[in-house]
C-alpha cells in the first residue's frame, strides 16, 4: 500500500498544479482581448436597455465583475478569492442570477447524460473491438469499416441525423429539451417518463460516436497482443483459449484506459455540442446561449467547470489505472 500512497499523492499534487494553470488560463485568455472588454460587451447589452439608470448600473456591475480598475495581479487575487467563496460572478444574460446558480441547474443534466453515455460507448466499443480482433474473418471485415465510418461522424453530426430520422420523419421521439415543456421538474412518474424519452436521442448519438472510436483502438491493441510471445507460449503450454483471451483482453485494456483519459476532453467537447442540437438543458446549451448573449462570466464559469470535471475524471481514471496495472505499484516501490 505504501507504493500506492506515494503514487496517488504525486498524481493528486500534479492535478492540483494543472488546475492552477487552468485557472490562470481561464483568467488570462479573455484579458488578452485588445481594447476594453467591458466596454465592448456592455455596449451590446446596454443598447437594448431604455432605462439609463439600469444601463449605468449594468456598466458598473460589469466593471466590478472584471475589476478593471485594479492591476492585473490584484485582479487575479480577487478572482481567486471569489472562487474560494464559491462566487463566479453574476450572469449578464440572466442578471442578477449568480453563475453558480445557473451551473447548479445545468450540471446535473450534463453529468447524467454524458457519464453513462461515454462509459456505455467505451465499454461496448472495447467489447466489439476485442471480438473483431479475436474472430477476424467476415465479422471483422464487415464490422471494422462500419466502426470506422460511424466513428467518423462527430457526435453532433449523429445527433442531427438521429434528430431528423427519429424526431421528425418517424416522430417517435421528442426533438428538443430535457423533458416535456408542459411539465415541472419533480420526482413523479410522468416527469421521469418524459425525461427518459427526451434522453434517448442525445444519449445514443454520444454512444454511437464513442463506440466507433474505441472499437478501432481496441481492435488494433488486441491484434497486437494476440501476436505477442506470451500468447504463443501460453498456447504452447496448452492453456485453454478462454483464459488466453482473458489475458489478452486485460493487457489490451490498459492502453484503452489511458486512451479514455486522453480523449475525454475531446469527447466531452463533442458531446456538449451534441447537447445544443437537442436544446438539452445542460452545460452545452448554456454555453451556446451565453456566447450568443456575450455573457462573459457565464462562459468563464462554465468552461472552468468543464475543466474541473475533465481533470477530476482523469484523476479517477489514473487512480483506477494504478490498481489495474501492477507495474505502477512495482515502479513506485523501487
Amino acid at each position: 500500500m505504501k507504493g500506492y500512497t506515494r503514487y496517488f499523492r504525486n498524481r493528486i499534487l500534479w492535478y492540483l498544479l494543472t488546475f492552477a494553470v487552468a485557472l490562470v488560463l481561464n483568467f488570462v485568455l479573455p484579458r488578452l482581448m485588445p481594447g476594453n472588454p467591458v466596454a465592448s460587451i456592455a455596449a451590446g447589452v446596454t443598447e437594448s436597455l431604455t432605462d439609463s439608470k439600469a444601463a449605468a448600473e449594468m456598466m458598473e456591475e460589469y466593471t466590478r465583475a472584471f475589476g478593471l480598475d485594479k492591476s492585473l495581479p490584484e485582479q487575479f487575487l480577487v478572482f481567486i478569492g471569489n472562487l474560494l467563496k464559491g462566487d463566479l460572478g453574476v450572469s449578464f444574460r440572466r442578471y442578477p442570477t449568480p453563475v453558480v446558480q445557473i451551473l447548479k441547474e445545468s450540471v446535473p443534466w450534463t453529468i447524467a447524460l454524458q457519464l453513462p453515455a461515454i462509459l456505455t460507448g467505451w465499454m461496448l466499443g472495447n467489447l466489439l473491438g476485442a471480438v473483431a480482433a479475436y474472430r477476424r474473418g467476415v465479422f471483422d471485415r464487415a464490422i471494422f469499416p462500419a466502426f470506422l465510418f460511424v466513428g467518423a461522424f462527430p457526435s453532433f453530426g449523429l445527433a442531427i441525423i438521429l434528430l431528423f430520422v427519429f424526431g421528425i420523419m418517424l416522430r417517435v421521439l421528442p426533438t428538443s429539451g430535457g423533458y416535456g415543456f408542459d411539465l415541472i421538474p419533480g420526482f413523479n412518474l410522468q416527469f421521469i417518463a418524459s425525461a427518459v424519452r427526451h434522453y434517448q436521442l442525445p444519449f445514443w448519438s454520444i454512444v454511437l460516436n464513442t463506440i466507433g472510436g474505441q472499437a478501432i483502438g481496441m481492435r488494433s491493441m488486441s491484434i497486437y497482443e494476440l501476436n505477442a510471445d506470451y500468447v504463443k507460449y501460453s498456447r504452447f503450454l496448452g492453456i485453454r483459449d478462454r483464459r488466453i483471451v482473458g489475458y489478452v483482453f486485460r493487457n489490451a485494456m490498459l492502453p484503452q484506459v489511458t486512451g479514455l483519459a486522453l480523449s475525454l476532453g475531446t469527447m466531452v467537447g463533442g458531446a456538449l455540442v451534441a447537447e445544443t442540437i437537442f436544446s438539452y438543458p445542460g452545460i452545452g446549451s448554456t454555453i451556446l446561449s451565453s456566447i450568443k448573449a456575450q455573457d462573459y462570466p457565464m462562459i468563464s464559469g462554465a468552461t472552468l467547470f468543464i475543466t474541473v470535471g475533465v481533470l477530476l475524471a482523469n484523476l479517477v481514471i489514473e487512480i483506477l489505472y494504478g490498481f489495474i496495472d501492477p507495474r505502477i505499484k512495482a515502479n513506485q516501490q523501487e
Binding site: V21, P30, L32, A152, L262, I291
Partner: protein
C-alpha cells in the same frame, strides 16, 4: 523510402481512404469551373427542394407539343393526398346526402372520390363541428376545383387599351407539353437551396475546400509545434525535457475545447477570419503530437547510429535532422493526418457554438451546419441543407482515418 511508398499504396485501407480524399479535392477544384456565379449567391428562396427549376414564363413561351397522355389522373394523384381523399369521404358521409360513397377506396378510387366530392360539395351544408373543421373542407374544395377540368388555362397580359384591361395571348391545353430543354431560363439545384436561398451543392463544394484548408493550416501548425517540442524534449533531455513534458501533459489534460472557446471568444468577431480560426485550432492541438514524437525520440536516442554521429562531433540540430527525424517521420505523417481531420471537426464544433469564422463571403462545413440549424432546417424537412454537410464531414474524417489505419498497418506489420 521507395519501397515504403510502394507498400503503402498496396494497402487497401490506405488506397480507399486516399482515393476518397483525392476525389473530394478534385470535386472542389473542378466543379467551380462548371458553376455560374459565386457559391454564396442568394439565388433561390428559403429551403427550395432539390431539382431542376425552370422559369414559368419560359414554359409558356416555349414551343408546345400536344401529346395523348392522360394528364388529369396524374395531376390528381400529385395534388390530392391519401388523407385529403379520406377527408372528402368524411364530408360525403357526414353531409348525409344521397350519394354512393360507400366502398370507395381512398387509395385506388381517388379520381372517383374527387369527382363525387366536386359534384356534391355545397358550402351551405353545415356539418357539426368547429368552424375551423368546416373551413378545412372549403379549402379542400378550392384546391381541387380546377383539377378535373380539361379546359386548360388562358394566358392574359395586362393591356390598358382593351375594355377588360387584359388581352389574351395564349392558351394552355391540358394535353400540351413542353420540352424542358426549350426553356432557356432554368437552374438545376442538385441539393436544393439553403436558408439564404444559396445553391447548397455549390456552397458545399466550396465549403469542403475551405474546411480542408482549415484542416491543412491547423494541422500543419499543430504538427510543427508538436514535432519541435517532441524532438527537443526527447533528444535534449534534462530539465528542458522535464519542463516540456510537464507542459505537454498539462495541455493534454486541460480540454483543448475549453481553451478554444476562451481563445475564440477573446478574438473579436470582426477579426475572426477562416485563417485566424485555423491558427487558433492549430495552437491548441499540438500536445498529443508532441507526446508521441517525444516517446519515439526517446527510443531512438541511444541507437548506435545516433551515438556514432554524436561521437563524430555533429551538432544537436544536425543529429536530430539526419538521424532521428527520418525514423519518426512515419509517425509524424500519421499524426498529421489525424490532426487535419480533428481540426476540421474542431472548426465545425466552434461554428456550431457561434464561435466559428465570422464571414459572409466564404462558407465552411461548420458554418453551413450552424446556419441550417439556426434556421430550423430539420423541422422544415429540409434534409438537403444539413445531411450532405454532415456526410461530407464524416466522409473526410472517414477517409483520413482509413489512410491512417492503412499507414499503421504498413508501419506495424503485426496489425495486418
Amino acid at each position: 523510402m521507395k519501397h515504403r511508398l510502394r507498400t503503402t499504396f498496396q494497402n487497401t485501407n490506405f488506397v480507399v481512404g486516399f482515393s476518397i480524399l483525392v476525389l473530394l479535392l478534385l470535386l472542389t477544384f473542378v466543379t467551380p469551373l462548371f458553376m455560374q456565379g459565386s457559391p454564396l449567391d442568394m439565388v433561390g428562396t428559403l429551403f427550395n427542394k432539390p431539382g431542376n427549376y425552370v422559369n414559368r414564363m419560359g414554359v409558356i413561351d416555349a414551343p408546345k407539343y400536344p401529346m395523348s397522355i392522360e394528364v388529369a389522373s396524374i395531376r390528381l394523384g400529385a395534388a390530392v393526398s391519401n388523407d385529403e381523399a379520406k377527408q372528402m369521404l368524411e364530408w360525403l358521409e357526414k353531409s348525409e346526402l344521397d350519394v354512393e360513397w360507400k366502398g370507395l377506396d381512398p387509395e385506388k378510387d381517388r379520381a372517383a372520390i374527387v369527382e363525387l366530392f366536386l359534384a356534391n360539395y355545397d358550402d351551405s351544408i353545415r356539418l357539426p363541428g368547429t368552424s375551423a373543421y368546416r373551413k378545412g373542407f372549403t379549402r379542400l374544395y378550392n384546391k381541387v376545383q380546377n383539377l378535373l377540368s380539361a379546359d386548360g388555362y388562358v394566358v392574359h397580359v395586362a393591356d390598358p387599351d382593351s375594355e377588360s384591361g387584359y388581352r389574351e395571348v395564349g392558351k394552355i391545353e391540358s394535353r400540351d407539353f413542353t420540352n424542358v430543354k426549350d426553356v432557356p431560363a432554368r437552374r438545376f439545384f442538385l441539393l436544393g437551396t439553403d436558408n439564404f436561398g444559396r445553391d447548397v451543392f455549390h456552397e458545399l463544394i466550396s465549403a469542403i475546400g475551405n474546411s480542408l484548408m482549415v484542416g491543412l493550416i491547423a494541422g500543419s501548425i499543430a504538427t510543427t509545434i508538436g514535432l519541435l517540442i517532441g524532438l527537443t524534449s526527447g533528444y535534449v533531455g534534462g530539465w528542458l525535457d522535464n519542463f516540456l513534458t510537464f507542459v505537454t501533459n498539462m495541455f493534454t489534460v486541460i480540454p483543448s475545447f475549453v481553451i478554444l472557446i476562451l481563445l475564440s471568444y477573446s478574438i473579436s468577431s470582426s477579426s475572426r477570419s477562416i485563417v485566424v480560426v485555423a491558427f487558433v485550432i492549430g495552437l491548441t492541438a499540438w500536445p498529443w503530437t508532441a507526446r508521441s514524437v517525444r516517446s519515439q525520440t526517446l527510443t531512438l536516442k541511444n541507437r548506435d547510429h545516433v551515438n556514432i554521429s554524436r561521437l563524430s562531433g555533429f551538432g544537436t540540430v544536425r543529429i536530430i535532422v539526419t538521424d532521428i527525424l527520418p525514423y519518426v517521420l512515419s509517425y509524424v505523417v500519421m499524426a498529421y493526418i489525424l490532426q487535419i481531420s480533428s481540426a476540421i471537426l474542431a472548426e465545425a464544433q466552434l461554428s456550431m457554438l457561434g464561435l466559428g469564422p465570422s464571414t459572409t463571403t466564404h462558407a465552411t462545413l461548420g458554418l453551413m451546419l450552424s446556419w441550417s440549424m439556426q434556421f430550423q432546417a430539420p423541422l422544415s424537412g429540409a434534409w438537403w441543407a444539413f445531411i450532405p454537410v454532415v456526410l461530407s464531414i464524416a466522409l473526410i474524417s472517414f477517409s483520413m482515418n482509413l489512410m491512417n489505419t492503412g499507414l499503421d498497418q504498413v508501419f506495424n506489420p503485426t496489425l495486418r
